[in-house]
Amino acid sequence: MWKIFLVLTVGFFIGFHKLIRGKLIQLNSRMQILWLLLLIFCMGVSIGRNGAVLESLPSLGGKALLFSVLAVAGSILFVFVLSKLFLEKGEKK
């Protein structure tokens, strides 16, 4: 967890003090897609190599799917309504 804070803060200071410029800024932005896809690939590998996860899928996968769909739907609904009521109004002066 502290590593996350560290890299974000170091990155932030590099950006804030304009230690990189021009093409490097663009390159940094473009490379994010690559890092993101590599991260997702590695996460997929973690799931795929974990035998326990795959074995429990047939018996508990359906229930887990219902939980995830409803938790995601509920979160989106609540956040969307709260943001419309209290956050977006402040933006449009």
């Binding site: 800024i25 939980f67 995830s68 938790a71 989106i76």
Partner: protein
């Protein structure tokens, strides 16, 4: 983008199943390194947007509405799922209180003497993270930036932060980080409440 993510994820899962154990163990370790590179890159982008923090400060305590919505929405979802499956509402809420943090939620429930709920919580929060990656572009486009943070829950401070940053703006990215940090701190507390 969502399609690319889905394809890469499926390739990763198949790879994890069939590639030699040595390579998959290496890639498993590499994921935390990829995450740090990605967040370093996101940090640079945030630093370049100097006005970001002023905008976040202007929202003030209202920023807490996002984790509040995430938590209420998730617990509601967990309660509904438990209702449909005719199990205990409380247990359903504990399962959903993982807010996407699958490793911890699975362990807490399993250690509390309910390995089945632990496995369901683990799997459902893995699914939640997968859905989040796929949904973020659509939510940012058709609802608003705040809604793109909602499915991420506790992961909006790490694994899904890069995705949020790509599809929203600097202000939303900072709010997403704060949301993720608050959710992460509250997951153990919430789960204890429903055990």
């Amino acid at each position: 983008m969502s399609l690319a993510i889905f394809v890469v994820l499926v390739l990763g899962i198949l790879g994890g199943m069939y590639m030699p154990l040595g390579i998959s163990a290496f890639l498993d370790q590499a994921s935390s390194f990829m995450l740090l590179i990605l967040l370093f890159s996101v940090g640079i982008d945030l630093g370049l947007n100097r006005h970001v923090f002023a905008q976040v400060c202007r929202l003030g305590f209202r920023i807490l509405l996002i984790p509040l919505g995430v938590i209420l929405g998730s617990l509601w979802g967990g309660a509904m799922a438990a209702f449909f499956m005719q199990t205990q509402i409380k247990e359903g809420m504990a399962i959903a209180a993982g807010l996407g943090w699958y490793s911890l939620s699975g362990i807490i429930l399993t250690n509390a003497g309910n390995p089945v709920a632990g496995t369901i919580s683990f799997l459902s929060n893995v699914f939640r993270e997968i859905f989040t990656f796929i949904l973020i572009p659509f939510l940012a486009k058709y609802l608003n930036g705040y809604s793109a943070i909602a499915p991420a829950g506790a992961t909006s401070m790490d694994t899904t932060l890069g995705m949020i940053s790509r599809h929203t703006d600097g202000t939303i990215t900072v709010i997403a980080f704060v949301n993720g940090a608050i959710c992460t701190l509250l997951v153990p507390v919430l789960m204890q409440m429903f055990l």
